[in-house]
Symmetry: C2
Subunit: 328 residues, 2 copies
Amino acid sequence: MIQPGPLNLITDVAGLRIGNAQDHNIKTGCTVLTANQPFVAGVHVMGGAPGTRETELLAPDRLVQQVDALVLSGGSAFGLDASSGVADAMRFAGRGFQVAGKYVPIVPAAILFDLANGGDKGWAENPYKSLGKTAFEHADEYFELGTIGAGAGATTATFKGGLGSASAVLENGITVGALVAVNALGSATVGDSRHFWAAPFEIGDEFGGLGPARQFAPTKMPKTKLTAGANTTIAIIATDANLTQAQATRVATAAHDGMARALMPAHTPFDGDLVFAAATGQNAAPITDIDIMHIGHAAATCLARAIARGVYHATPSDADFFPCWATS
Amino acid sequence: MIQPGPLNLITDVAGLRIGNAQDHNIKTGCTVLTANQPFVAGVHVMGGAPGTRETELLAPDRLVQQVDALVLSGGSAFGLDASSGVADAMRFAGRGFQVAGKYVPIVPAAILFDLANGGDKGWAENPYKSLGKTAFEHADEYFELGTIGAGAGATTATFKGGLGSASAVLENGITVGALVAVNALGSATVGDSRHFWAAPFEIGDEFGGLGPARQFAPTKMPKTKLTAGANTTIAIIATDANLTQAQATRVATAAHDGMARALMPAHTPFDGDLVFAAATGQNAAPITDIDIMHIGHAAATCLARAIARGVYHATPSDADFFPCWATS
């Protein structure tokens, strides 16, 4: 039996902490995943409009095999500065990859587009560096979902998006968790209904318990939020399994299936859809390819559940363009 | 409204022909997609165990931008010779990329593993070159689905796999089609039921009309056919749209969502899951990024439907290890 961990959050992976910071006036924010130790990370990009920082080093042949934090941020390319704020904060803690006696914090990041969501975008100075620093300082095991962090300004084609998370403990004791900022061009719900595409994967009533839709319209193109570029779903999968960088990359690839199952459509030219995978290695058991299959499947289903939970937990703000799932 | 084309086959894309050849004693075969003219092609690989030929040239920066045929084959790495048989047959027709006054047929190929499916694998000479040649010679607009071609020896975790196809005509008149040899580690059906995962996308009763499953077991790992390497789902998406090589690559990427939605799990370390995309350009209308979004979504849903149809149309053979969906 696969069961959620005690928090049903990515932080059920022991040692991980999540920090959120947001500005509800701007309607944006960022989310930081960090830990006391560096961790292995991989990435797989499937969207047509990604915005990233430090993803080139996330390959098995590159020198750096572990990172210090991962950042998801609103703000489009401006939001990449959140990563800079995190790195500055980590520098004083002596964290980072050691080069010539110096420590360089490695903080890969991905952004989503929330510059056209009704918020006040008239800032004179890029706010994301400061948001990143604040998010890092508030990193904790427990965190809220919905209209917070990188999900603070997120939307989908039908309802407000948001920050989602979910976890699973496999039969062999390995924990897998997902974190996602849902800002899809497509929709997490079926047609005009409130039923989530992710319903077949819902555990208990973690996103409302409505169950799967009964009616589908296969000959109809789903609703889309066709503001070119104003989209993107970005996620982090984490596990305590002792993965190599290459294995983490494979898990990131498999996890994209969760986006495909929870969002319709996904991976469009206007979505920068991307999944990071993080592995702490705290569970030291040797990992086989069969384990990677199980972890990859759990990653995909956790991500699908996390996407639905991000939309489910969104709360109203001023000047919203989309209704909230819970209050509509 | 999105509707299937007149055949509900990939050959609804005008000018394309499909040829199948199989050996029911060996329980294997191959499938060739060809046309009277070269066509643009792209590829996206997401499985952990791919077997391919000529995929390196399928990138926007490579010299060759068009191919002469695409091959899906059983036989694991031995099946790559099917492509050689096709190229030999095309050579005499003067087909191919012109280099120094010679014509070199460009025939990318992908294989699936069907070497452990109960067939007689005692051949002394690799049979795939001959199968490839036969398949090419029989290429036609109409073809059968199920236990034929590259799907002749295919299996899934629960039922026999097979060769599937489906098509869609978009509102703007662009046609999209999918062809797939379904040999997944996972299952195309939900739990112990006969309901297809692809049911939300079924048009009419093209794969039985049972509708979506009512019961799901999210805390249970789905059944898998855990013979390491004995898997792989390979597909071709085709359209008459006038795509560049880069646009075809993006469509191939988006199409993988159809595998994610129709197979559980998909994209595992033991599946060489791969999608080719082919574009004939016969529909000369200019293509925008919005068109690519629609074509990508249609590709994903056609592929999901084609996967279900491949399993739905499978027929019994001697020494089968798995039951057929239609007769169980």
